[in-house]
Point group: C2
Chain length 149, copies 2
DNA sequence: GCCGAGGTTTACGTTAACGTAAAGTGCTTG
DNA sequence: CAAGCACTTTACGTTAACGTAAACCTCGGC
């Protein structure tokens, strides 16, 4: 785990609103991933940046997609699952009824997943509290001042 | 993802309290994993059941360990990370100060991770709401009654 | 006494998600 | 114009977390 704190990076910071584009290296730095990762996501159908010559040009929309993808990953979704949602989202306007129904199903599934994760987090939190207090007890029993946190 | 709903399975249901043991197959059924998975966790140092002959006998404590392990997995922890906490927890009474300090560090790290996940879930929830409402709009635009959920 | 159900070990196979290395392209800067 | 830097493609390597298959034991029942 030990994820660095790029957190939800990628704010544009009040620029000319919309004509900002990014190179693959810029995006990589912003989100603290390697260019290889970004190219891999494209190969998996999660991104489709424009090209100038053979160089990739990422627009604002691409940046958002990448952000959502990484968030999904942190929540344990596979790239395939993420693609399933992201692509349907894009194809929505001309999506037929069956597709949309399917999308709603998927969303419900994801939602259930999030609920379970919330519960897991609650429980895990308790465990951590327990382990920590036990550790602090033992420490002070050793005459060592534990860090106040 | 699409995790089945064994959820937090594995309640003993008011039995003689404590002398209950389990075969590998029983545990596998309870938690909806394969015996292979359970053996693998043992090989990775997450479980250490007793043996009768060469057959594994799991006690209540083993069951709890497995439960915690699976919960950790659902939260995206690697087996190595889970082992790190679980084993230190067990070795606590005779753990030296350095070990315990390290444990507290790890716990803080996990905690930070959970915080981030909570935020991610909040955000993801919003996205799902957005996608879903858009989908419902399009659907009703097609004259199709979307499921009331 | 044999059979099937469940357990065991050993070992090779598989999948996802990248890492890494090689070899080439293209700009711009001293 | 040579060097360097950022980009590209191609392709093989790696790790985690199991799956799967083969070959074996062992026990209760008929």
């Amino acid at each position: 785990m030990t994820q660095r704190t790029a957190s939800d990076a990628g704010q544009t910071g009040g620029l000319p609103r919309q004509r900002r584009t990014f190179s693959i290296g810029e995006l990589a730095k912003i989100f603290e991933v390697t260019p290889r990762t970004i190219r891999f996501y494209e190969q998996e159908g999660l991104l489709a940046p424009e090209r100038r010559g053979q160089t990739r040009i990422y627009c604002e929309k691409d940046r958002v997609r990448l952000k959502l993808t990484l968030r999904g990953k942190r929540l344990g979704f596979s790239l395939a699952e993420i693609r399933e949602v992201v692509m349907m989202y894009d194809a929505m306007p001309d999506g037929n009824a069956r597709q949309l129904q399917r999308l709603l199903e998927i969303l419900a599934d994801k939602r259930a997943n999030l609920e379970r994760q919330l519960e897991d987090i609650r429980l895990m939190h308790k465990e951590l509290d327990d382990v920590e207090s036990r550790a602090r007890e033992v420490l002070s029993g050793l005459g060592v001042e534990p860090p106040k946190h």
